[in-house]
Symmetry: C2
Subunit: 430 residues, 2 copies
């Protein structure tokens, strides 16, 4: 039995004003009493001390986080994840839903992350491992977030590309080329069928490829490719940099010819992206650096789908995240959850384009289409385009051919008999 | 044997220009050939494709990350950390040192984190688990970082407090009190002996306690406490908020009477802190929210001491981090490493004050002094001061008494016989 006083951190959801609370879902394991551990979790993440000495008051009613559901899902003979448990004794795997009053901190990303993933969560007494699985935001909170400015339909309108996936290509060699030869590679990729030629996440504003010069060269190459193909094209420039340079780099890149911008959201900060969203004239694209270190471990950290949701809330129009396949270390169900977080209804927010990444090639389009069950996705190969033995133009063409085969319901092997670029692409991965 | 071509990602450190490279230390496990895995790790984090198709070039010499040391430390019959390995077969635990050319991205925090903790690291082929342990920065890189503006000696000068630890107190109830009663608690704490009364990491600029009003009330209470005690005092206000409000909130808080500022560095973004450092007129203090999710797991993620180093580099004058004791889930050796990262020589940077946190009380001062071997640390209790049965003034007094006992070489139990506040403090933890 838990102390009676801890009952102040429990409530019935139906007695609470839904608009005043976030609903937090956690999985945790404890070797203590599960109710006691859940009460601690609420206490530590909200009003840790809820009264002054010598004053008759209880701040929990208004400011306390409250357990609204607790289920012991599993009982283990010993700690299931021994890396954090202190003793080898019986442990409980629990799902808890917590109502957290958002007026404690307000609709702000840094303060939200502190509340739901700070000291009060990861150092809560009696909890050996914990994973933040999801957050439901009421409209009173969500209304403060602008979300994608363009969204999926905005990106499609820019490209005039409907009823098919969007073809991204990461220009490679990703690091080391000067702007001029780099632009030539992008040009070839666009000619072959890329919609969006993009900088690698590692390429930023550097002395050997200043963003100003790169945006100018790629901007010109983009216009030339549009003229040559009769299609609209996007140059996606990576402006990841120190926070106080983001708006300046936006202006430099956009003025010179970039018509979409990438930011590594977690390394730059989601709050900085939200600031950029207020300023941007072009779509913003997320890359997933530094997310794996706190999402990859089962039953610990934060679930990646929540990070995708937050990236949509702060304004990313497209979100690149780890896709299918062993290399990306992400279970298929989790990849699907991330795609859903991009597209499903979320308050007044537009959908973001999901872009599952990692070792993509011509054969991936059909695979992704089948698994995701929609054409609203992007495919983002790098070497499959730019290391194609016939060159980047042929590499990009092979992507389109992969999609044509899918659309026509023909296997890529059969389709490749009449399409040399695709045949060579198949050879590359064999 | 690894492919001959992968040898391009190996180098002898003595043949490289030390000023051009960061040295990265990783622990990783692989079920593949360790040299092959290490080569992949270098390739994926630098020039993933190092030549154009049809062009005779090799970008690796200048832009490639390079293995400069590789030691297979352990061989396991099966993956040591099964949560990420695909198969139950022999695996190798390896230490690798990589020379990474920093001109690939420049002296920028977001791009650094992308390079050393991005897709190229946590999704590198053949690596089942990986932890970034440390980075050595050459002076050519470090010179761009300003580090603490005040540092340990600056904080001591502000307080006129030398040859002893600094006494922080987290004002509690942390959430829910209006500025007026909140200031009264701080005042009592200062009277009793706190040097620094601080906002909780969960308390920010909110409707029920606007920072402007809080800073004004606490500022006045601070001056009153200075007058009453004849000692200098600090009000440490938490300005954690959206990035585009940080400088404004700095000005609001400092103009009204806060004379140090706290930012939850990881949730706000280390780059944003670096921006604030350029602007600040007062010391900056770090709190460790959202660091545990990627540092707590053994052999995975990022070592906490590196995050402490980065926090010092971006300009924090004091760094609060998880301290000793089971609740903080941090091995004692790691707590010591974090304290060392604050204080040890690091280029031209001033030391930051280490503040090991978590369930601190009067008895912790002696314990910390003994373990850290220096008086250059802060102690940061919350409830031990503000839930002390005799009130916050007595709670703060008990801290000072705990330190007096240590200084005089008397056990706190003996000292408590003549000091009621300390006696009550001992009862609280018993």
């Amino acid at each position: 039995m838990i102390e009676e006083v801890k009952r102040g951190f429990f409530a019935d959801w139906h007695n609470l004003d839904a608009e005043k609370y976030l609903q937090l879902d956690y999985y945790f394991e404890t070797t203590s009493d599960p109710e006691e551990a859940a009460a601690h979790l609420c206490q530590e993440q909200s009003t840790a001390q809820w009264k002054r000495v010598g004053v008759d008051e209880d701040l929990r009613d208004r400011f306390g986080a409250k357990v609204i559901d607790l289920v012991v899902e599993q009982t283990f003979d010993k700690p299931n994840h021994p890396y954090l448990a202190e003793e080898s004794k019986q442990s409980y795997g629990c799902r808890v839903k917590i109502a957290h009053p958002h007026e404690n901190f307000g609709p702000k990303i840094p303060n939200l992350l502190t509340a739901v993933g700070g000291e009060g969560v990861f150092h809560s007494p009696g909890i050996s491992t914990i994973k933040l699985l999801d957050i439901q935001f009421p409209e009173s909170f969500m209304q403060h977030f602008e979300g994608p400015k363009f969204g999926v339909s905005g990106l499609r309108d820019m490209l005039g590309a409907y009823d098919r996936p969007l073809f991204f290509g990461v220009i490679k060699p990703n690091i080391g080329l000067a702007p001029e030869p780099f632009a030539e590679l992008a040009f070839q990729g666009w000619l072959g069928g890329l919609d969006i030629a993009k900088d690698d996440e590692m390429l930023s504003d550097v002395a050997w490829s200043p963003l100003s010069e790169r945006a100018e060269k790629l901007g010109k190459a983009r216009l030339a490719a549009e003229k040559a193909t009769g299609e609209k094209k996007i140059y996606l420039a990576n402006i990841t940099d120190e926070v106080d340079r983001l708006l300046e780099l936006h202006d430099i890149a956009v003025e010179r010819g970039a018509n979409a911008l990438m930011v590594n959201g977690m390394t730059t900060g989601l709050s900085a992206v939200r600031m950029l969203r207020k300023h941007t004239q072009v779509p913003l694209v997320a890359h997933f650096d530094f997310i794996a270190p706190f999402t990859l471990i089962p039953d610990f950290g934060v679930h990646s789908k929540l990070i995708t949701k937050l990236q949509r809330m702060v304004g990313f129009d497209a979100i690149i995240f780890p896709g299918f396949g062993a290399r990306m270390k992400t279970p298929s169900a989790e990849v699907l959850q991330n795609a859903e977080e991009c597209l499903k209804p979320l308050g007044h927010l537009k959908p973001s384009l999901p872009v599952p990444a990692g070792s993509q090639w011509a054969g991936s389009t059909g695979d992704l289409y089948e698994k995701l069950g929609t054409v609203d996705f992007g495919i983002v190969p790098g070497r499959a385009v730019f290391e194609h033995p016939m060159g980047p133009k042929a590499g990009a063409t092979s992507l389109r051919q992969g999609w044509e085969a899918t659309r026509e319901g023909i296997s890529i092997e059969t389709y490749a008999k009449q399409h040399l670029e695709l045949a060579e692409a198949i050879k590359m991965v064999s």
